[in-house]
Amino acid sequence: MHEPLIFTYSRPGRGAPAQYPPPVPPEVPEKFRRRRRVVLPEVSELQAVRHFTRLSQLNFSIDTHFYPLGSCTMKYNPRACNELAMLPQMLGRHPLAPESLSQGFLACMHELQEMLKEVTGMQGVSLTPMAGAQGEFAGVAMIRAYHQARGDTAREEIIVPDAAHGTNPATATMCGCKVIEVRTLENGDIDIEALKQVVGPKTAGIMLTNPSTVGVFERRIQEVASLVHGAGGLLYYDGANLNAILGKVRPGDMGFDVIHMNLHKTFSTPHGGGGPGSGAVGVGRRLLPFMPVPFVEREEVSAGHAQLRYRYRWMDERDLPQTIGRLSAFMGNAGVLLRAYVYMRMLGRAGLERVAEYATLNANYLLARLQQAGFEPAYPQRRASHEFIITMKRQARELGVNAMDFAKRLLDYGFHAPTTYFPLLVPECLLIEPTETESKQELDAFVDALIAIQREAQQDAAKVKGAPYTLPVRRLDDVRAAKQLDLAYREDPG
C-alpha cells in the first residue's frame, strides 16, 4: 500500500472554502509584502480527509497492535481521558485567562499535583515541563541551583550509570555539568565500588532510575543514597520506570531528592506518534525554592463564598524568587495534564497500585514463557520489573540472525517490535515491556510468534533477514536517508 504525497493531489484553484473566512484585502506595506505565494496543497476537504485517513492506516498503534516497547510504556489510553480533556471550556481556555475564570481547571491541576506528591513521596510538584527530557532538565537545573545558592560552586559533576537513558547524559551536559559514567555489574546492579571511586566534593548529583533500564530493581539503593548524600550530592530519579513501583515503593522514601514523571507513560496519556509528552517534576524539601514556575497553590476561602471552599492561583517568579524559571511560554502541556488527572481519578488509590502489580506480573510471565521456550534473559537470576531484556547474541552468532531481524519479522506477525539495542551494554538485546493492560492471550500470542520466528531463523535465515514483507514498505535504507538528504518535497521545476 502506498499513499502519494498530499502535494501530488494539488491543483491550482482548488480549495476547501468552507474552512476560511471570505477574503478581505490585507493591509501590508510594500516592504513587508510576501511576493510569491506559499506553496501549500490546494485540495478539497474530501481529498485531505482521505489522504490523512489512509496515512493513519499505515501506522501501528496501541489501538491496533500490541506494542511492547521497553522503557516507553505503551499501554491503553482510556477514551474518557481524551473526551473529558476536550470539553469545550477546557479546549477554549486561553492560557492567560483570568484566574477567576479558571478555577475549575486550576482545581484539577492542584489535585493532580497533590496526587503526584503522594505517589512519589515528594514535597512539591510542578507540572510545567513539557516532556520527560525537559523534566530531567528541570531536575538537574534545580540541583545546580541548590548547590550554587549554598555557595558550593565546585559541584559540577553528574554521575550517570552506563545503562542510563541517553537523555540523562545529554541533560547533564545541557545544564553545564560534566558527565561521569559508572559501570553496571553483571547482575544488573550498579557497581558500588566504582561509585565510591567517583563520588566526592565535585559531585553535584547522580541520575538513576529504579528499576533500572536493564529491568531490575537496584537493591542497594539505600547504600547509593547514603554514599551520594554523604558526599554532599543529591539524587535524581528518572521517572521513566515509575510504572513498575506505583504503590510499592516511593522515590522519596528511597532517598531521591528530585524526580521527573513521564505522565504519558505511567499515567497513560497518548503519545501521538512521538509527542506530546509531559514531564512533571517532584522535589524534596531542599529543592522546593527552586521549582520551575508556574504551579498552582490553593488558599482557603473565608466564609461567604457558598460555591467554593478554596481559591486557586498561579505561583510564579514573584512568589518564588529562587526558581530555575519558566520552561515554556505558558504553563506546559495542560491538555496532557488533564488526561493524566482523569486517569488518576478513575484508577484511584487501589487502581494505581494495581498498575505496578499487573505490569510486573505480565513482564515476569512473559519472561518465564520465553525462557522456557529457549530464549536467553540478560539477567536470568533476577526478578523482572515491568520490563526485561532477552539477548539474541546466540542467534546472531549461530544463525546470523540478529535482534533487529527478529524485530522486523515480528512486524509481519502483527506485533510492534520491542525496543532494540537499548540499553547499549547488553549485546543484541530486545527490551520488552508488555504493560498491565495486555491480556494473557495477547502475551501468549507474542510468545508463539517469537517461537515461530526462531524456527524460521533455523530453517531459512534469509527469510527472517529480509523482513518485513507485509508492511507498506520493505526494510528502509537508513544510510541512503542520511547520505542523500531529502527532507522536504520540491515541486518539479519543469
Binding site: 486561553h94 515554556s328 511560554a329 504553563m331 502541556n333 478513575m346 510492534h416 494473557k440 522536504a488
Partner: protein, 452 residues
C-alpha cells in the same frame, strides 16, 4: 479493575508459570524497609460516569469568556476535519516511529509538515517540531552558538519587543551554558527596535541577533535592516515569527540581502486549540548548511529494499540516544500529534485560506482598535503597521479593569504593567478571525460602561 484484563484464573496460571506464590512476591527484591505504607491520602477510584460528571462541573465553573487575549496564543477556527482525523487511534495512540516500516503514516505526515514549514518560512529545511515556540527560541540560541564557529562570545542580542516569556524561557534553558543575552530597548514612540541601539555593538563579536516579527506589541519590525546589520557584523539572524502572518508577509528566508539563518515560532495557530497553554508545538527551520546542528527529529525520504520510496528518522547521530552527552540537545520527544493537526490544517486552508485568515485577523484587530479607542480614556499607544495585536493606553490601572471585564465574562486582554512598567497603564488586545462585529461591539459597550 479498570483497564486490566486479567481474570482470576489467568492470574493463577501466570503465577504458576513464573513459580511465584502471589503477585506481591514479584516485588521481593525491594528492601522491606522501603515498602510504601497504604496511600491513605489518595482518593478512591471513580467510574467513568462519576468522573464525567465531575469534569463537566469543573468546566461549567469556568465558562467560556469572550476572548480578546493573544500574546502568543491565538484563537482560530479549526476545521472539524482536523481533530476528527488527529483523534483516530492510529495517529493518537502511536509512538515515536522507531520501526519505520510500521510507522509510515506518521513519518509521511511529518515529512509533509517539514515541506510546508520550509515553504512557509522560505527556508530549506524544517525539523519535525520542538516543544513550543519559547523553548524553540532557546534551542535556536544554543544552535547558533554551535553553528557559528568563528564567534567566541556566545553573545546574543534580543530586542525587548520579543515576547517577555520567550526571553525568560531562553534564559532559563540556557542558564548552564554561559550564553550572554543583551536586551535592546524599543523606541518610545514606534514600539519597535530602535536601530540606533544596535550601533553600539558595531564591530563587536556578536553570535546572533534575535528579532520577533510581528513583535510582542503586534508591530512590524524593520526586518530587512536588522538582518543586514546582523550579517554585516558576522552575526547570525534568528527570526521568531507567527506562521499565519507569513501567508501575507515576506518570509524570513527573504529578509534583507541573505535572509534569516534560523527561524522559530509557535505552531499553535496552525490547528492546535488554546487548551490553557498546551500542548502546542515549536517549529524550527534553517539553511541546509546548518542541518547537522539542528536539534529535534528529522524525517528523510529514502528507498526500501525493493527500491520503493519510504520515510524514516534520519541524522540520528545528532540525537541523545546515540550521542548521549555530545548530542545537539537533550530533546527526545517532539509534538507529533500537534504536527499532524498542523499538516491537516494547512492542507485544508491552502495558501488562499491562510491568506484569508491572516487578512481577517488584521481587519478585526483594526475594527477592535477603532471601537475601543472611541471610548473616553482609551487611546492607541503605537501607530505603526501591525498584525493581530495592539497596545492600548488606559487612564487607570489595567488590572482592575480586566477583573471587572472578567466578571462580565470577557477576557479583555493582557495587562502589560508587569513586563513593561514603562508603558504605564497599557493593555494588549487581540482579535482574530473568530471575533465578529457583534463581539467587538459587546466589548466596546462593556468597556465604556466600566470606564465611565
Amino acid at each position: 479493575m479498570p483497564f486490566i484484563p486479567h481474570t482470576p484464573s489467568d492470574v493463577s496460571e501466570m503465577l504458576a508459570a513464573i513459580g511465584a506464590p502471589d503477585i506481591d512476591a514479584l516485588f521481593d527484591e525491594i528492601p522491606a524497609a522501603l515498602r510504601t505504607p497504604p496511600p491513605e491520602n489518595l482518593p478512591q477510584g471513580l467510574t467513568e460516569m462519576q468522573i464525567t460528571r465531575l469534569m463537566h462541573a469543573r468546566a461549567q465553573l469556568d465558562g467560556q469568556p469572550l476572548n480578546f487575549l493573544g500574546a502568543g496564543a491565538y484563537e482560530h477556527h479549526i476545521p472539524a476535519a482536523v481533530w476528527a482525523i488527529v483523534s483516530r487511534g492510529e495517529f493518537y495512540s502511536a509512538y515515536t516511529p522507531y520501526q519505520a516500516e510500521a510507522s509510515q503514516g506518521t513519518l509521511q505526515v511529518l515529512y509533509e509538515f517539514q515541506t510546508m514549514m520550509a515553504n512557509l518560512t522560505g527556508m530549506q529545511v524544517s525539523n519535525a517540531s520542538l516543544y513550543d515556540g519559547a523553548s524553540a527560541l532557546a534551542e535556536a540560541c544554543l544552535m547558533a552558538v554551535r553553528a557559528h564557529r568563528q564567534s567566541r562570545s556566545a553573545r546574543i542580542l534580543v530586542p525587548a519587543t520579543v515576547h517577555p516569556d520567550y526571553r525568560h524561557v531562553a534564559r532559563a534553558i540556557t542558564t548552564g551554558q554561559s550564553l550572554k543575552f543583551d536586551v535592546l530597548p524599543y523606541g518610545e514612540e514606534a514600539g519597535t527596535l530602535d536601530l540606533s541601539s544596535l550601533e553600539r555593538y558595531s564591530g563587536q563579536d556578536i553570535t546572533a541577533v534575535v528579532v520577533q516579527h510581528p513583535n510582542f506589541f503586534g508591530l512590524l519590525e524593520d526586518v530587512d535592516a536588522i538582518t543586514d546589520w546582523a550579517h554585516a557584523q558576522g552575526a547570525m539572524l534568528i527570526a521568531v515569527v507567527n506562521p499565519v502572518s507569513l501567508a501575507i508577509f515576506k518570509p524570513p528566508g527573504e529578509w534583507g540581502e541573505k535572509g534569516a539563518d534560523i527561524v522559530v515560532g509557535e505552531g499553535q495557530p496552525l490547528g492546535a486549540p488554546l487548551a490553557s497553554g498546551g500542548p502546542y508545538f515549536g517549529f524550527m527551520t534553517t539553511r541546509m548548511e546548518y542541518v547537522r546542528q539542528m536539534p529535534g527529529r528529522l524525517i528523510g525520504r529514502t528507498l526500501d529494499l525493493d527500491g520503493k520510496p519510504g520515510f524514516s528518522l534520519t541524522l540520528q547521530a545528532r540525537e541523545q540516544h546515540i550521542r548521549r552527552s555530545k548530542a545537539t540537545s537533550n530533546i527526545c520527544t517532539n509534538q507529533g500529534l500537534l504536527v499532524t493537526a498542523a499538516a491537516i490544517h494547512l492542507s485544508l486552508l491552502g495558501a488562499t485560506g491562510l491568506e484569508s485568515v491572516a487578512a481577517a485577523c488584521q481587519a478585526n484587530t483594526s475594527a477592535l482598535v477603532e471601537a475601543l479607542t472611541g471610548i473616553d480614556g482609551v487611546r492607541l499607544r503605537f501607530a505603526g503597521p501591525r498584525f493581530h495585536e495592539a497596545v492600548l493606553q488606559l487612564d487607570r490601572q489595567v488590572d482592575g479593569v480586566l477583573q471587572e471585564l472578567a466578571r462580565r465574562n470577557i477576557a479583555g486582554g493582557l495587562d502589560l504593567s508587569r513586563h513593561f512598567p514603562g508603558l504605564g497603564n497599557a493593555l494588549l488586545v487581540c482579535a482574530t478571525e473568530t471575533r465578529t462585529p457583534e463581539d467587538i461591539r459587546t466589548y466596546a459597550h462593556v468597556l465604556a460602561e466600566i470606564l465611565t
